[in-house]
C-alpha cells in the first residue's frame, strides 16, 4: 500500500520505502529501552536489537535500498549503569553500514550524545532535519521554522508513536500501531510514522484531542481529527481506517 502515491509501506512492517530515493525509513527504535526498564526494576531480556536487525534485513531483501533512514530516537537513554545501549547502537550501525550505501539518522529527543557513537562512520549522517528535494524529514519533538520557508510537498515525522486502541463487543482490546497521514493546514502531505520498537509505548490517537498530542510539530501543522490511519501489524497485516475523528468511539 502506498501513501500519497509514493511512499510504500513495506510488507506488514511499520516502515516506508521511497522508490524515488531508494530509501527505507523507520522511526523510533529506542534501542536500549530494556536497560532502562531494568534500571526501573523490570528485567526485560534484551531482544529488540536482534529482532530489528532481522526485520530490517528482511525488508532490504525485498526492496532496492541504497539508503536507510531512522526518523529519530534510534536509541533510548544511555543508562547510567550500563554501556550496553552504546554498543547496541554501534552494532546496529555497523551491521547496516555493510548492507546499504548511506545511513541517515534524524536526531530525536532521546538521541543525546549519539554523535559520539556515530563519528567514526563516514557513511552515517546525523542531523536534526533532512531534506531530499521535496521531502523533509524531522523527528517531530521540536518545531523547525525553516520548514515554512522550504518548497516542500511532503513532511515525514516520528516521535508520536501513534496507535489505535480498538474494543469490540466480544471484549477483545487490541492496540495496533499505525501510520497517520493527511494534509497540513498549508497544503503539504504529512506522514507520521509509527514506532518501530514494539516496546515503546504507543499513544492512542483515536481517543484524544489535539491538546493531548505529543508532537508540537503535529499540533501546529494539522487538525488531528482530519488525519487518516493505516494500522500495521506484523502478523495480521495492514488495515485502512478513515479519518480519526470518526474513530473516537470505537
Amino acid at each position: 500500500m502506498k501513501l500519497f502515491n509514493r511512499f510504500e509501506i513495506v510488507g506488514n512492517h511499520p516502515a516506508l520505502y521511497d522508490p524515488k530515493k531508494k530509501m527505507l525509513m523507520v522511526s523510533d527504535l529506542h534501542l536500549g529501552l530494556e536497560s532502562l526498564m531494568a534500571d526501573a526494576g523490570m528485567f526485560m531480556p534484551k531482544f529488540q536489537l536482534s529482532e530489528m536487525k532481522d526485520d530490517i534485513s528482511d525488508m532490504l531483501e525485498k526492496k532496492d535500498v541504497e539508503r536507510l533512514l531512522v526518523c529519530g530516537d534510534i536509541k533510548h537513554e544511555f543508562s547510567k549503569t550500563s554501556y550496553g545501549e552504546r554498543k547496541e547502537v554501534e552494532e546496529f550501525i555497523e551491521f547496516f553500514d555493510e548492507l546499504v550505501g548511506k545511513i541517515y539518522l534524524v536526531k530525536g529527543n532521546h538521541d543525546n550524545y549519539l554523535i559520539y557513537s556515530v563519528k567514526r562512520y563516514p557513511d552515517v549522517e546525523l542531523e536534526e532535519l533532512f531534506v531530499f528535494d521535496d521531502v523533509c524529514i524531522i523527528h517531530g519533538h521540536e518545531k523547525h521554522e525553516r520548514i515554512k520557508g522550504l518548497d516542500l510537498d511532503h513532511i515525514i515525522i516520528g516521535h508520536e508513536h501513534p496507535a489505535l486502541t480498538l474494543t469490540d463487543e466480544i471484549g477483545a482490546r487490541e492496540k495496533i500501531r499505525c501510520f497517520l497521514y493527511g494534509r497540513t493546514k498549508d497544503g503539504k502531505d504529512l506522514i507520521v510514522m509509527p514506532a518501530f520498537s514494539g516496546l515503546a509505548q504507543g499513544s492512542t490517537v483515536n481517543r484524544v484531542d489535539n491538546k493531548d498530542i505529543l508532537s508540537p510539530v503535529l499540533k501546529d501543522l494539522v487538525d488531528i481529527g482530519e488525519m487518516k490511519a493505516v494500522g500495521v501489524d506484523k502478523e495480521a497485516g495492514l488495515f485502512k481506517f478513515p479519518k480519526l475523528k470518526k474513530l473516537k468511539d470505537i
Binding site: S35, M37, A38, D39, A40, G41, M42, F43, M44, P45, K46, F47, T81, S82, G84, T165, L166, T167, D168, E169, I170, G171, A172, R173, E174, I176, G198, L199, Q201, T204, R207, G231, D233, E235, A236, G237, F239, F241, P242, K246, L247, I250
Partner: protein, 871 residues
C-alpha cells in the same frame, strides 16, 4: 510405624501436665473450668516436644494452649538458670491484625501469670515476647537485636526478611519451637509455599531441629496438611502427631428458603421475604454474623436493613470487608468484641480467627461454596466452649437450595472437601534462592536437599531446579548483562562442585524490599466520561467487561465504555438493569468434592422419582432443611427429570444440544465446580472449534459449561473421543496462552520471581507500568526457552491452581473407562438445570487463531458499523 499419626481419644487428659508451674496452673484454673478438647491433647504433646498438628474449630483455645505450653517450658528453663537471651519460640500467623490476637493469647496471660506468681510469692523467670511485622518501627527492631525476645511473633513475609537479617538471624539459631497458626488459610496458596521454604531454611540454620506445632481449623486432607507442616527428610515425611477434634462441637445447621416457590415468586417478594427472615433472626439472637460472599452484597444488605428498621439498626449494625480502611475494620471488630453490635455483615473477611466476641448465630446468604468454609464460618458462633455453633443458610434460588442442602449434611457429618496444596512453584523458589544466596555460599546439591525438605517441593525435578538457578543467575542474558540480570553467581569451585551466592550489592536490598507472594492490587479508577470519579474496579472484573455492559457499582448502575491505561470510562445509566453480575470475579468456586456429592444426591432423588416414591420423607430424615426448601429441591429435580428425561449425576453427565436460530448451544451439565469446568470447557472448546472450523464461545459456572457453536451438525461422540485421545495439559495450555488471564498471572509470577520489582532504588513501579510491558516480557521469555521457569510456572499456576486440570483429567479417564457415562438430549428451550448457565451474559470468545484473525474481524466490524451509521 507411620510418622504421621492421628492421636486417639484415649490419650487425652483432664489435667494440665504435672510439671506445669504452680502459678501457671493457678492462673489457668481461676479462669477456666476445664480443658477444651484440643487442649486435652496439646499441652502434653508440646511438652513432650513432638511435632503436632492440632486441628479444631476457631475459638477452641488451641492458640492459648500453644502459648501456655511454651511459656511453661521457658519458666522451667528459667528455674534452672538456663534461660538465655535468644529466641526460643517463633510464632507465625498470616493474620493482618496480629496485634489483637497476641494481646489476648500471650501478653495478657503472661501478665496474669506474673501476678499469680507474685501472689504466691514465687519468683517467676522473666520471659519476653515481641511482635515483629512490616509495621514494626526500626527502633523496636534495634531493641530486639540488643534484647532478643524469647517468643517472637511474626508473619510469613517478615520471617522471610528475618532469615536474611545478618545479625538478627543469629538469635534464631537455638530455636526450640515453631508455631504456625491458621494453617488452613496458608496451605492452599503461595503464601504457604513461601512459608514452607522459609521454615526449611530456618531449620537448616538451627543447631537442633525445632519442634513444629501447627494450629488449624477444620480442613482436609489432614495427613497432607501435616506433611506440609513438618516437611520431608530423606524422602519421607518427618514425624507428626495429629490431634483432630474438629468434630467435637455439634453443629446446629439448617437451610432456609424465604418463600415456597422460588421460581414463580417475583424477585421483589423473594427479596422482601429474605429481609424479613434476616430481620427476625437478628432480633431473636444476641449477636448475629452475616456472610454474603461479596463486598457489594455486604453493603447492600447493611443499607437495606437500616432502611427496613432504622431505629433498631442505626448504630447497631456494622459492615466488614477487605475494601474498607483498616481503621474502620478495627472499629467494627472492637465494637463486635465488646458486644456493642447486634449484627455485622461481612463478605469473607471475618472468616479468620480474629476475636470477635460472642456470636450466637451465623447467617449465610446464598451458598458458601465449600464444606470446610461453611464449617469455619458457622464455627464463628458459639464461643463459650460449651455452646454449639449455630448456622443458617438462606437460599434464594433452586440451584442454590440444592447445593446447600447437600453441603449442610456434609458439614454436619464432618465430610470435608479437600484443599489443594500448590506444588513446585518456581517463582517462590526463585525468590528464596535469591535469599539463600544473600546469606552465604551454597553448594548446589546441598541447597537442593534443603529445598526438597519442603512439602511443596519434595518432588521438585532436578532439571526444573537447575533451570530456575540459571534464571536467577541471569544466564538468559548476555555475559556482560548477567551483572544486571543475575541475582546470584553460579560457578564451579576448585573441585568442580557447582555453587551459588549473592551477586550484586543491591541484591539483598532487592530481596528484602520485594518479599512476598501477594501480587500488587491493581485498582482501576472508574470515571464517567464527564470526568466524575466513581470508584475502583479490580483487574479480574475489568477483564470481563465489554463495551455496553451495564454493571452496578456502589449502588448505582453504569455502562462500560472503554478503558485506557489504568482508567475506566463509564456512563451513568440509572434507568437500566445490569447485564453483568458485578460479583462475578469475587465468586468462590464450588469445591470439586462437594460437586460430586451433589451429583450423588441428584441420583438418589432421581431414582426415587423414577420408582414413583416421594423423596420428601427421606430428605426430611437425612437432611437439615425447612419444608419450603424440601419442596423447592424436589420440584427442581422433578422438573428437570420430566422435561429432559435425565438429571445430571456424578456418574452420568448430561449433554444438551440446545438449538437457537443461528447457533447451537452444547450444554454440558458437569457438576464439578468452576475450576474443573473451566479446564474442561476450554479443552472442549479448543477441539470443537478445530472440528467446526469456527469460533466457539464459552460460558462456565460451577454446574456446567456451554460451547456456543454455529448452527451446524455437531458430532458430539466424536468430539468427546477426540478430547479423550488428546493431551489435555497441552491443549489447555494452548487454549490459555492468548488470554488476559495468562498475561495477568505471568505478571504476578514475574513479580514473585523478582523479574519485575515492586520496589527498586526507592521507586515503586506502578501496576499500570508493570502491566503494559508484561506481555512483551512473556514473549521475550518464551523466545529464550519454551520451558523458561517463569513461563512454565505461569502455566502451572493457571491449569493446576486456578483451574483444576488434575480432576478434569480424572473425569476424562473416567469417561474413557466407562465409569462415567453421558446422555445426550436435544432441546429448543434449555432444560431447567441449564438456565443459570445460559442466562449468564459473561463469556470468553475462544480465539480461533491469534491476533491476525481478531484484528481482521475487529476491522471489519469497525468498517461495517461506519457503514451502517452512514459514515
Amino acid at each position: 510405624m507411620m510418622s504421621i499419626e492421628i492421636v486417639d481419644g484415649s490419650r487425652s487428659n483432664e489435667e494440665l501436665p504435672d510439671d506445669f508451674e504452680p502459678y501457671v496452673k493457678r492462673w489457668f484454673w481461676e479462669r477456666f473450668d476445664g480443658l477444651t478438647p484440643p487442649q486435652k491433647h496439646s499441652f502434653k504433646m508440646i511438652h513432650e516436644g513432638r511435632n503436632s498438628l492440632i486441628c479444631s474449630p476457631t475459638g477452641s483455645g488451641k492458640t492459648l494452649s500453644a502459648f501456655l505450653s511454651i511459656l511453661n517450658e521457658l519458666f522451667l528453663k528459667g528455674d534452672k538458670g538456663e534461660l538465655e537471651d535468644k529466641v526460643y519460640c517463633l510464632y507465625v500467623s498470616p493474620l493482618r491484625a496480629l496485634g489483637n490476637d497476641i494481646q489476648r493469647n500471650l501478653e495478657k496471660p503472661l501478665e496474669g501469670i506474673k501476678e499469680k506468681a507474685e501472689e504466691m510469692d514465687i519468683d517467676m523467670p522473666e520471659v519476653r515476647s515481641a511482635v515483629r511485622t512490616g509495621d514494626t518501627p526500626s527502633r523496636e527492631r534495634q531493641k530486639m537485636l540488643k534484647n532478643p525476645p524469647h517468643i517472637l511473633v511474626t508473619t510469613p513475609e517478615t520471617l522471610g526478611i528475618i532469615l536474611n537479617a545478618p545479625k538478627f538471624k543469629e538469635k534464631l539459631k537455638d530455636l526450640s519451637y515453631i508455631i504456625v497458626d491458621e494453617i488452613h488459610s496458608l496451605c492452599d496458596n503461595k503464601r504457604g509455599v513461601h512459608l514452607s521454604l522459609s521454615l526449611e531454611r530456618l531449620e537448616e540454620m538451627c543447631s537442633e531441629e525445632p519442634t513444629r506445632i501447627g494450629l488449624s481449623a477444620t480442613q482436609a486432607p489432614i495427613h497432607e496438611i501435616a506433611e506440609y507442616l513438618v516437611g520431608y527428610e530423606d524422602g519421607k515425611p518427618r514425624q507428626c502427631d495429629i490431634v483432630d477434634v474438629s468434630a467435637f462441637k455439634e453443629l446446629d445447621l439448617k437451610v432456609l428458603s424465604p418463600v415456597g416457590d422460588l421460581i414463580h415468586t417475583s424477585g421483589e417478594v423473594v427479596n422482601s421475604e429474605m429481609y424479613r427472615c434476616i430481620d427476625q433472626s437478628v432480633k431473636n439472637h444476641v449477636t448475629t454474623l452475616i456472610f454474603t460472599n461479596t463486598r457489594s452484597a455486604t453493603e447492600r444488605v447493611v443499607n437495606n436493613l437500616i432502611n427496613k428498621d432504622p431505629e433498631f439498626y442505626e448504630g447497631n449494625i456494622g459492615a466488614h470487608h477487605s475494601s474498607m480502611s483498616r481503621d474502620k475494620r478495627i472499629d467494627v471488630e472492637e465494637s463486635l468484641k465488646n458486644g456493642n453490635l447486634k449484627v455485622v455483615v461481612t463478605s469473607t473477611s471475618l472468616e479468620l480467627g480474629i476475636d470477635i466476641g460472642y456470636i450466637d448465630l451465623v447467617l449465610q446468604l446464598s451458598s458458601p461454596k465449600g464444606i470446610s468454609r461453611a464449617i469455619q464460618r458457622v464455627g464463628r458462633s458459639g464461643h463459650g466452649f460449651t455452646d454449639d455453633p449455630k448456622g443458617r443458610v438462606l437460599v434464594m434460588e433452586r440451584g442454590d437450595a440444592l447445593e446447600c442442602t447437600e453441603m449442610m449434611r456434609c458439614a454436619k457429618e464432618n465430610e470435608l472437601d479437600n484443599v489443594r496444596i500448590p506444588m513446585n512453584c518456581l517463582d517462590v523458589l526463585s525468590q528464596h534462592i535469591v535469599g539463600m544466596g544473600c546469606n552465604k555460599k551454597w553448594d548446589v546439591d546441598d541447597a537442593y536437599e534443603v529445598i526438597k525438605s519442603s512439602f511443596n517441593f519434595h518432588r521438585l525435578e532436578r532439571e526444573d531446579y537447575e533451570r530456575t538457578l540459571r534464571y536467577v543467575a541471569g544466564e538468559h542474558a548476555s555475559l556482560e548483562d548477567q551483572r544486571v540480570y543475575g541475582k546470584i553467581w553460579l560457578d564451579e569451585d576448585e573441585e568442580g562442585e557447582l555453587e551459588f551466592g549473592q551477586r550484586g550489592k543491591l541484591t539483598r536490598v532487592i530481596y528484602m524490599t520485594n518479599i512476598g507472594t501477594i501480587p500488587d492490587e491493581s485498582a482501576y479508577r472508574v470515571h464517567t466520561r464527564e470526568g466524575r470519579f466513581v470508584g475502583t474496579l479490580d483487574e479480574d472484573f475489568l477483564d470481563r467487561l465489554t463495551k455496553g455492559d451495564i454493571f452496578i457499582h456502589g449502588g448505582d448502575t453504569y455502562e462500560f465504555r472503554y478503558a485506557r491505561g489504568m482508567k475506566v470510562y463509564v456512563d451513568a445509566r440509572p434507568d437500566r438493569a445490569p447485564t453483568v453480575p458485578s460479583w462475578f470475579s469475587e465468586m468462590l468456586p464450588l469445591s470439586y468434592d462437594l460437586g460430586r456429592k451433589i451429583g450423588e444426591f441428584n441420583k438418589k432423588i432421581q431414582d426415587m422419582i423414577e420408582k414413583g416414591e416421594d423423596p420428601s420423607g427421606w430428605i426430611r430424615e437425612n437432611y437439615y432443611v425447612d419444608e419450603k426448601t424440601v419442596s423447592s429441591i424436589i420440584s427442581y429435580i422433578d422438573e428437570q427429570y420430566r422435561y429432559a428425561g435425565a438429571v445430571p449425576t456424578d456418574s452420568i453427565l448430561l449433554v444438551e444440544k440446545n438449538f437457537e436460530s443461528d447457533k447451537t448451544n452444547l450444554i454440558f451439565h458437569t457438576i464439578f465446580g468452576r475450576k474443573v469446568n473451566d479446564a474442561l470447557c476450554r479443552i472442549f472448546a479448543d477441539h470443537a472449534s478445530d472440528m467446526l472450523n469456527a469460533n466457539v464461545g464459552i460460558v462456565v459456572d460451577d454446574h456446567g459449561f456451554v460451547l456456543i457453536c454455529p448452527r451446524k451438525e455437531i458430532d458430539l461422540d466424536g468430539l468427546i473421543q477426540r478430547v479423550i485421545g488428546s493431551d489435555l495439559r497441552k491443549t489447555l495450555k494452548r487454549a490459555v496462552r492468548k488470554t488476559e488471564l495468562m498475561k495477568r498471572r505471568f505478571r504476578h509470577v514475574a513479580s514473585r520471581a523478582l523479574m519485575i520489582l515492586r520496589n527498586y532504588r526507592g521507586n515503586k513501579l506502578s501496576v499500570g507500568k508493570q502491566q503494559m510491558k508484561s506481555h512483551f516480557l512473556l514473549s521475550a521469555c518464551e523466545k529464550i526457552d519454551e520451558d523458561f521457569p517463569l513461563v512454565k510456572e505461569t502455566y502451572r499456576e493457571i491449569i493446576e491452581d486456578y483451574m483444576d486440570i488434575e480432576n478434569a483429567s480424572d473425569i476424562m479417564k473416567g469417561i474413557e473407562k466407562g465409569d462415567i457415562g453421558y446422555k445426550v438430549i436435544e432441546t429448543e428451550v434449555p432444560s431447567p438445570f441449564a438456565h443459570n448457565l445460559v442466562l449468564q451474559s459473561q463469556g470468553d470468545v475462544l480465539k480461533l487463531e491469534d491476533k491476525k484473525e481478531r484484528l481482521q474481524i475487529l476491522h471489519k466490524k469497525v468498517m461495517e458499523s461506519m457503514e451502517s451509521e452512514g459514515v
